[in-house]
């Protein structure tokens, strides 16, 4: 079943066209990796999916529902964007954990705030809290952080922070989990633990979009790869195909330059 359909997305900042006619789709339980040099529009694409940016043109559909259509103003109401965002989770390059909360509180906060909007919240306050807490603890355990739940972000390593951030995004059970260069801000010896966690999520059939520079990881974990260049999708398809037999000269050049690094 197709979870995500992106059609003809355009986005420009002032005179700079950052995304030009980007279209792709994603099946449930699949992993899509987006590669490309910096400035090719990968991050902007993720930000559009999470409604941190508004595309100038194009359509975004999730599970058949049109979340965004540049030609239909009714899909762009500020008040609806919040609930639409919940279809997506986003893990940032720089974690963006909330420093004043513990790992556990970071994972629980958004869900607690959402629970307050439930009509039965007042009556079942305690049960709801316990439920959210149990779920958050389970997520952190999955991330291998059972001993770090009550630590504050500044007491954690970069890799641990990123794993908390992943748990935080998962807590809201998004349809699609997005990663924006999740290991770029980490020391090389810490990237492995984060990639391992993402791999485990892939094995559990979590639908994911990963913007990354880790070519071998992308090749190993993804079902589909997109190579972006100058705001366009230059090549997309099966990872083996894109990495081993790139059709385009620029793709070949890019993959070659990464490998030689």
């Amino acid at each position: 079943m197709t979870v995500l359909e992106v059609e003809n997305i355009y986005k420009s900042f002032g005179r700079i066209d950052v995304l030009k006619d980007v279209s792709f789709s994603l099946e449930e339980g699949q992993v899509l990796s987006i590669i490309g040099s910096s400035g090719s529009g990968k991050t902007t694409l993720l930000r559009c999916l999470n409604f941190l940016e508004h595309p100038d043109k194009g359509v975004i559909r999730v599970n058949g529902e049109t979340l965004f259509d540049a030609d239909d103003a009714s899909t762009q109401k500020e008040s609806h964007i919040r609930s639409k965002r919940l279809h997506f989770g986003l893990v940032f390059q720089s974690f963006n954990l909330f420093p004043q909360y513990t790992a556990l509180q970071n994972v629980m906060l958004a869900k607690e705030l959402l629970a307050k909007e439930r009509p039965d919240y007042k009556a079942k306050k305690k049960e709801i809290y316990e439920e959210i807490k149990a779920q958050a603890e389970e997520l952190l355990r999955q991330m291998g952080l059972e001993n770090r739940m009550n630590n504050y972000p500044h007491q954690l390593s970069g890799g641990q922070c990123q794993r908390v951030a992943i748990a935080r995004a998962l807590a809201l059970e998004p349809d699609i989990l997005c990663f924006d260069e999740p290991t770029s801000a980490l020391d090389p010896e810490l990237t492995g633990e984060v990639l391992r966690v993402i791999k485990e999520l892939a094995d559990k059939k979590t639908t994911m979009i990963i913007v990354t520079h880790e070519m071998s990881f992308a090749k190993e974990v993804s079902n589909q790869v997109i190579f972006m260049d100058d705001g366009r999708i230059l090549e997309q398809g099966d990872p083996i195909e894109v990495f081993e037999h790139p059709k385009e000269e620029r793709t070949r050049h890019f993959i070659g330059s990464i490998k030689s690094n």
Binding site: S83, F88, F98, L113, Y152
Partner: protein, 228 residues
Amino acid sequence: MDLILEQFPIVVRALNVGFMQTLKLFFATLIGAVPLGLIITFGSMSRFKPLSYFTKIIVWIVRGTPLMIQLLIFYYFPGLVLGTPIWGSGEAGRFLAAAVAFIFNYACYFSEIYRGGIQSVPVGQEEAGLVLGMTKSQIFFKVKLLQMIKRIIPPMSNEIITLVKDTSLARIIALQEIIWAGQAFLKGSQGIAGAIWPLFFTGVYYLIFSGILTVLLGRLERKLDYFR
């Protein structure tokens, strides 16, 4: 020395009365200016340009002119120009006018500190909140506010200590705070005339009070040391 010992109880009683006015003005200013400052901050950071420019001009005027002049204008302007004094008579009216002028002045200073505090919270914090489906106000109160408070405590402490001493400016509109009370013994009051020491002795009150505040604010600062 004997003379001073004789005068001491009378002077201390008068200084205590004056210091109560000082404290009242101090706390009234703090209670009014802390929230008003936040409103001014939102005004100056508004994306609606006319409001933002208007607020910035007000802040510029208030920060660019001496508080003493503002006190004179606030207190005398209504009667001088509009023909009716609005502050009410006696000490209470003077206190009200002084409090309003102080609140307005300090709110403008606070607003600039708040603005610095808000802008120093990384954009990523807001974006993280947004993608987690939080509303703007949830992000402000649950995520950014505490980080902002942590960052503004040192500059706010400075302003608050300055405020303790600035309250003495209110004597320009004849608010009888502690300096006024001390000076009264120079001219002669309650049978004591030409006594200089009460005026200098007011410094002890300021020292003790600002000392207490320094300790309390330092404690608050340490309380927020648990995160970075």
